[in-house]
């Protein structure tokens, strides 16, 4: 059991919402990963659907490269849609 792989768990809280990362579980295979995810992360009615994926199957960006990847966006405030006057009717968009 020490060599059980790690699985990332994504839970959809309600119909219409996205699956969101909830945490991770250890499990010997994908069916048991789903069971462990259900028993670990939806015990208090948190979800209506679960995805699990092997942690090693996730391709992640390198935190050490944060400067090159993310800092260039900092100077481009025009990408935030905050310069528009919203009509009254869509105020709660």
């Amino acid at each position: 059991m020490k060599d059980w792989p790690l699985w990332e768990v994504f839970v959809r809280a309600r119909g219409g919402l996205d699956h969101r990362h909830a945490g991770s579980v250890h499990a010997p295979d994908m069916e048991m990963a789903l069971r462990h995810a259900r028993d670990t992360y939806t015990r208090r009615m948190e979800g209506v659907s679960i995805w699990v994926v092997r942690s090693t199957d996730i391709v992640a960006s390198d935190p050490a490269r944060g400067e090159a990847l993310f800092e260039p966006a900092a100077s481009k405030i025009y990408r935030h849609p905050t310069f528009y006057e919203l009509p009254e009717a869509v105020n709660h968009m």
Binding site: H26, E31, R43
Partner: protein, 250 residues
């Protein structure tokens, strides 16, 4: 239902209560944190079922006993659970096998109880059957994996079957009280549930690569209050607090 069905209802309630308490013993001791949570979930399902059934049994009896009173202030010989469910957890394989055998029995039973003309019982069963379907799936998954895993896991699940198999006839024993309820159509005889159980059992054993069972010398008595030595020591732990402080609330 009538007061003389009190004991028959205890048979169902006590199965859930005793197995639930046994599973709780894994809390903090399971092989991994995930399995720990899974076993606790199963345990809490069972204790929830027991609470509903014992409350109803207490009302039928008409002596003012609540679920807590029945759970914590009865001695071993007043319990009507099958001896299968009071057996010690031992290793994980034995716990899985015990749970598989129970769930294979409880699924057709609760399906039938959900169709009982007794509305209160049917409601409790309809809620419980959803939980018990998951219990059977969960136990079957582990049965298959232990059976098809390593040499050691296969040996352990095979031993677990040999250990638990002799108590299955006790699980299916039709007591006088149970028969009297069956006669007026409250539930089926347990003997009539056996073919469904045998099908589930054969399928589970095949998945695990285990041989079909050989006849075993059956041990019966749980439904009549005759238990193995393990029930008393288990109840000692379960009941110590309410018996030491009978009026305590939280």
């Amino acid at each position: 239902m009538q007061p003389n069905h009190f004991e028959a209802l205890l048979e169902v309630a006590d199965d859930s209560l005793i197995l639930g308490q046994r599973l709780c013993e894994w809390c903090g001791h399971a092989p991994t944190i995930e399995v720990d949570l899974s076993l606790s979930n199963l345990a809490l399902d069972l204790i929830g079922q027991a609470t509903l059934l014992l409350d109803y049994a207490g009302e039928l009896e008409g002596k003012g006993r609540t679920a807590d009173r029945l759970a914590f202030h009865r001695d071993a010989e007043a319990f009507r659970n099958s001896m299968l469910l009071e057996q010690p957890n031992s290793d994980f394989a034995r716990t899985v096998m015990r749970h598989f055998l129970f769930a294979a029995y409880a699924n057709p039973l609760f399906e039938a109880l959900a169709r009982s003309p007794d509305a209160r019982l049917a409601e409790i069963a309809a809620k419980s059957i959803k939980e018990l379907r998951y219990h059977l799936e969960y136990a079957t998954d582990w049965l298959e994996r232990l059976g098809q895993g390593t040499d050691e896991s296969h040996r352990r699940i095979a031993n677990a079957f040999d250990w638990n198999w002799r108590f299955v006839d006790d699980l299916f024993f039709d007591s006088i009280s149970w028969k009297s309820g069956a006669e007026i159509g409250l539930w089926p005889l347990r003997a009539d549930l056996r073919p469904a159980f045998d099908d589930t059992l054969s399928a589970g054993l095949a998945l695990a690569g285990l041989a079909e069972p050989k006849p075993a010398w059956p041990i019966v008595g749980g439904r009549m209050g005759k238990h193995s030595e393990h029930l008393s020591s288990m109840l000692t732990v379960m009941q110590v607090l309410p018996r030491a402080h009978p009026e305590a609330t939280w």
